[in-house]
Amino acid sequence: MQVPILKQGPYLIATIQAALTDSDILQLRDALVRQVERHRARGVIIDVTALDVLDSFATGTLRDIAQMIRLRGAETVIVGIQPDVALAMTQMGLVLEGVTTTLDLEEALEYFHRKLRLQTVDRR
């Protein structure tokens, strides 16, 4: 199942709509890294609200994505980790170190707006 990636202003928004296989997640990683480059995106939002499991592979790949996007000069926000999923991740000892997370898409957009505005101010 391919994950649709929408471009909205300086952001890319990937909304996962159903359970993903490991290859699907790797495909999402590659597509995001390519598109950040092509669209010169400043931020990437990955909405995982629909995922009912984030296991070690999915968590590791999300962390990889955030790191790769950062190396390309943009930032990733993971949106919508469900409470039960957060519990399972914590119990397993899985961490999303250095990756910003927000409750929903609106908060992620606010986070980016605030951040980009601050950067613009800094440059004056």
Binding site: A19, T21, V53, S56, G60, D84, L87, M92
Partner: protein, 138 residues
Amino acid sequence: MNPPELASDVRVSIEAEADIVSARTRGRALAIQIGFSAARATLLATAISELARNILLYAGHGEVQLSVEENTARVGISVVARDKGPGIADLSQALQDGYSSSGRLGLGLPGVRRLMDSFEARSAAGEGTVVVAKMWLS
């Protein structure tokens, strides 16, 4: 009218990535069916996902068997992950956090052990691996 028969024993053959998703989806359904909370069902589904991936990654193929386990005191789900792969030469090492012979973060087995109420693994080099893990309803 008889109540609908409950599926109490499910075997999922693990041969491709999609089978990982299928195994954890069926495990969750079975758990919900016998009264697990959504939170506990998620812990179980996550553990099944790890066990099924280990089979695919290390053995190529195998089987995940999910069954309802019931005794006088309690009811729960038993997960048996079985493969005839190369086996794990050093099981106690594989159960340590941070260890992985595949080069990825080695949280598979220790993570499963933390998610489930009981955990038992048997393996020897050249003889495949069997993991039996259980989670009780309460």
